[in-house]
């Protein structure tokens, strides 16, 4: 049984404001610390180099979008997980130090997480967005496609760095955590789709389009891919296979569903991480 804990004297609104202020201060630290670390710079330069290369050698903005989409689907989750985990373990003791200061745990967690996630997002947006911006002006790119790619990359960064935090919080051992993270990565990028493929082949005789669409909602990688494809003419191809696909991929329904699910997906690991963090013994 927990005995009653005296209430603080602050008004609720003032309390909320000071909680937000503290979170921002925690974030500010993480942000600048990470910006100074070489990994985030390497990550940014990697994206700058690859995207510029794709645009320069591929020549065509839409082709480059598809190649960058591959990066968003494979590299961004992997880097977000690995960088997220190493950042989590690397700052674990320091977080302990912050927790000895008079700041609530929610503020610490949200600030700490934003301190990782925002540089990751910034690195992605800068690294892959800038070349598109520069090339797009020249090539008359389709801004909707590029915007969807940027949204997908941002949300994937957020989702997988939040997952990394959550995995870290649940595992004291970092090697085990890394193993779990790689499993999650492989599962979401490959194995899940492999199971969808198997499902499609086994259930060939049945009308499974609706089930496939619903199943795709459970994987943020599939959702991101579909979100970007829906902005391309390729979406029309996906619609040919039947009336259900036609309705889903041929209208705004698909965009709304995939974007909405992605946003829920973003909130979920952050919430789970926050819950674990608040219950954790340091």
């Amino acid at each position: 049984m927990i005995l009653s804990h005296p209430q603080t004297t602050l008004e609720p609104r003032a309390k909320r404001r000071s909680a937000l202020k503290s979170a921002l201060k925690v974030m500010k630290y993480g942000f600048f610390d990470l910006l100074r670390s070489r990994w985030i710079i390497i990550y940014t330069l990697f994206f700058l180099a690859v995207t510029s290369g794709l645009l320069y050698f591929g020549g065509d903005a839409n082709q480059a979008v598809l190649s960058t989409l591959n990066l968003v689907l494979l590299v961004v989750p992997l880097i977000s997980l690995v960088l997220g985990l190493s950042y989590y373990y690397y700052t674990r003791d320091f977080v302990e130090l912050i927790l000895t200061q008079p700041i609530g745990r929610s503020s610490v967690f949200l600030g700490h997480f934003s301190g990782l996630a925002l540089p990751l997002v910034a690195a992605f947006l800068l690294g892959s967005g800038l070349p598109f911006l520069l090339a797009g002006v020249r090539q008359g790119a389709d801004w909707r496609v590029i915007a969807s790619l940027m949204v997908a990359g941002t949300l994937v960064s957020l989702i997988f760095s939040a997952l990394a935090f959550w995995i870290g919080l649940l595992n004291e051992e970092r090697v085990k955590a890394l193993g779990i993270a790689l499993g999650v990565w492989l599962g979401m990028t490959m194995i899940y789709d492999g199971l969808l493929l198997l499902f499609s082949i086994l259930m060939q005789a049945y009308p499974i389009e609706r089930s496939l669409i619903i199943l795709s909602l459970f994987n943020p990688i599939d959702l991101s891919r579909i979100l970007v494809l829906l902005q391309l003419d390729t979406a029309a191809l996906m619609g040919y296979t039947g009336a259900v696909f036609q309705r889903y991929f041929g209208s705004n329904l698909g965009i709304l569903a995939s974007l909405g699910s992605l946003l829920i997906w973003t909130g979920l690991p952050v919430y789970l991480g926050l819950r674990s963090f608040k219950r954790k013994n340091f």
Partner: protein
């Protein structure tokens, strides 16, 4: 004043604190001692709110320590081995913590001078030695002049000069009426600092009293031998 009432904590199947009640008084230095895994660190972390207790109540100057940031405004904590972000410099760290607490400390420069940190203030923490980091940690601990100080092996890693300065500082704070809780493996340090010893064994407080009382109870004049005897459970 810090008080614990029937505090318990279990990690998985392991019961670490088994209904602990204790009081830490103003103007007194209490050393928490006991064998490894006796619950020392858990006890201190519970007071800090780092460990969330299952049961019981911890009050720090009347504020509950459970999920209550306000209680931590009362505490200065010096961990055994301070970990700081590599890329920050000591001065940035100290300023950042002040910014975080929204509180400017008038003691900052005096403390930096006292611990002779001046020349290291502008080097990234990652290039600083363990001892220098401990000094930074000490500055941070005393920075906001908190009424309660929790010091985990405070002099570990410090050179003799810094170590003696730190001890002087602790005694000075005691005289200024602080509640001071510390752990130490260094017997001379205990002799020098502790007014009272709180002895933990398997999650229970088995002894709380002055150093003189330990010697009396165990019949050993040497503190180290007296404590060893307590650990073996022979003098209970």
């Amino acid at each position: 004043m810090v008080s614990l009432k029937q505090v318990s904590k279990t990690f998985g199947n392991l019961e670490v604190l088994k209904g602990i009640s204790a009081r830490f008084e103003v103007g007194k230095i209490t050393a928490v001692i006991g064998p490894n895994a006796s619950g020392k660190t858990t006890l201190m972390k519970s007071i800090l709110g780092l460990v969330l207790t299952d049961d019981g109540q911890i009050l720090v100057n009347g504020e509950s320590a459970f999920q209550n940031p306000v209680s931590r405004a009362q505490i200065g904590y010096m961990p055994q081995k301070a970990q700081f972000p590599d890329n920050l410099k000591p001065i940035e760290l100290l300023n950042w913590v002040q910014d975080l607490r929204d509180e400017k400390s008038p003691r900052l420069h005096a403390l930096i001078d006292y611990f002779q940190l001046g020349p290291q203030l502008d080097k990234p923490l990652r290039v600083l030695s363990g001892g220098t980091r401990q000094k930074v940690s000490a500055v941070l601990t005393f920075l906001f002049d908190p009424p309660v100080l929790i010091l985990d092996e405070p002099s570990a890693g410090l050179d003799p000069l810094a170590s003696s300065r730190l001890k002087d500082k602790i005694l000075e704070e005691k005289r200024r009426g602080k509640v001071i809780i510390l752990t130490s493996h260094v017997m001379s340090e205990l002799e020098e600092l502790a007014d009272e010893v709180l002895f933990l064994l398997e999650g229970h407080i088995v002894f709380q009293g002055t150093l003189a009382e330990i010697r009396e109870r165990t019949g050993e004049q040497k503190l180290e031998r007296a404590i060893a005897k307590l650990m073996e459970g022979r003098a209970l």
